[in-house]
Every structure is written in C-alpha cells, then in structure tokens.
Symmetry: C2
C-alpha cells in the first residue's frame, strides 16, 4: 500500500536506500543476501533499510522458503512525481499571471 508523501521523501533521502531501490528497479527482485553482497554494509543494516523502504511502499517483500525476495514498486513514486508537478504547476500559474499583467499594461 502506498504511504504518505512524507515517508516517501524521507525514505529516498538516504543514498544507500536509493541505491538499493535503484538496483531493485534495474535488476528486478533480489534476496537480502544478494543485496547485502553489493551494498558494502552489514546484513542487519540492509534489513533495516528494506524495512523503511517497505514502510513507505517503495518495496515489497515475499517469502520464498528461507529467503525473502524484495521487489521495487515504482507506483509508490507517484506522490513524489505529483508533488513535483504541483510545484512546477504553481510556477506556470505565476508565469501566466505575469503574462496577463503585461497584456493589461499594454493597453
């Protein structure tokens, strides 16, 4: 389930977490040990990051036997994308207003 915009932003603030998410996007689902092997940090640290990513909906884990496969959920990036759109939208509105003003000053 998708979580709050705030949690998504917080999750992606850490470069290690972004790197893990990137890898899952690029290479598809991976086990914790596979992720750990490329992460230069300990397995518990990876598990912690995955927990946070999961909490913000960016990642989902499914248990297969004794290993858990984590996959990225790009749909969880929507709040972020919408926020960016909103911000640039505000800017465009201001630009339109400025255009209107200039038009009004013209006559």
């Amino acid at each position: 389930m998708s979580q709050s915009r705030n949690e998504v932003f917080r999750s992606l603030a850490d470069p290690t977490r972004r790197a893990i998410f990137e890898r899952l996007c690029r290479d598809g689902a991976q086990s914790v040990s596979t992720i750990t092997a490329q992460a230069a940090i300990s397995q518990p640290a990876v598990s912690k990051h995955l927990r946070i990513l999961k909490g913000s909906g960016l990642v989902q884990g499914t248990i297969h036997g004794r290993e858990t496969l984590y996959r990225a959920d790009v749909a969880a990036l929507a709040p972020l994308q919408n926020w960016v759109r909103e911000m640039t939208g505000f800017w465009d509105e201001k630009f339109d207003k400025l255009e209107d003003l200039l038009k009004r000053m013209d006559r």
Copy 2:
C-alpha cells in the same frame, strides 16, 4: 547553480523545508520575516532551512536593503524528476523484456 541529486533529495526530506519551498512556489518571493511569520518556528531556524535549500539550488536569495527576498527555483527539481523517470524507465524495460519472453514462448 544546480547541486547534486543527493542534496536535492536531502533538502526535501524535511517537511518544514518542503513547506517553505511550497510557499515560495505558490506565492512567489518572500522575505525571511514573512516566511517566519507563517512557519511556527524561530527566525534562526528558518534561516538555517533557507541556507540548506539554497545549498541544493532549490532557492535563491537576493538582498534588498535590509531584507533578503527568497524565491523558489523549480528548475532545481530536474534531478529529482529525471531520477523518477529513470526508475520508471527501468521498470518499463523489464516489462518489455517480459513481453519479448512471452512472445518467444508463444512460438
């Protein structure tokens, strides 16, 4: 000048900072005291946040007499937007590969 992707992500991780940036996007340039009046935190705290936002290129300040006007620079959101595009791009590629695989399995 636009800064690293990392700094943009870090800057936007804090909700107070996002709120300030949002306000500057929505209402245009504002002085530090005006921002402080609506922020529920002290003026030094606001200044600190503005410094960080400035460091990541999200905001620019221009001195006018004894007050400084800060304005949002939405162009600085580009790294974030590009990153999101990249991530969803990876996902699409995987989807394409899956389609190819299914096609190959078909014959």
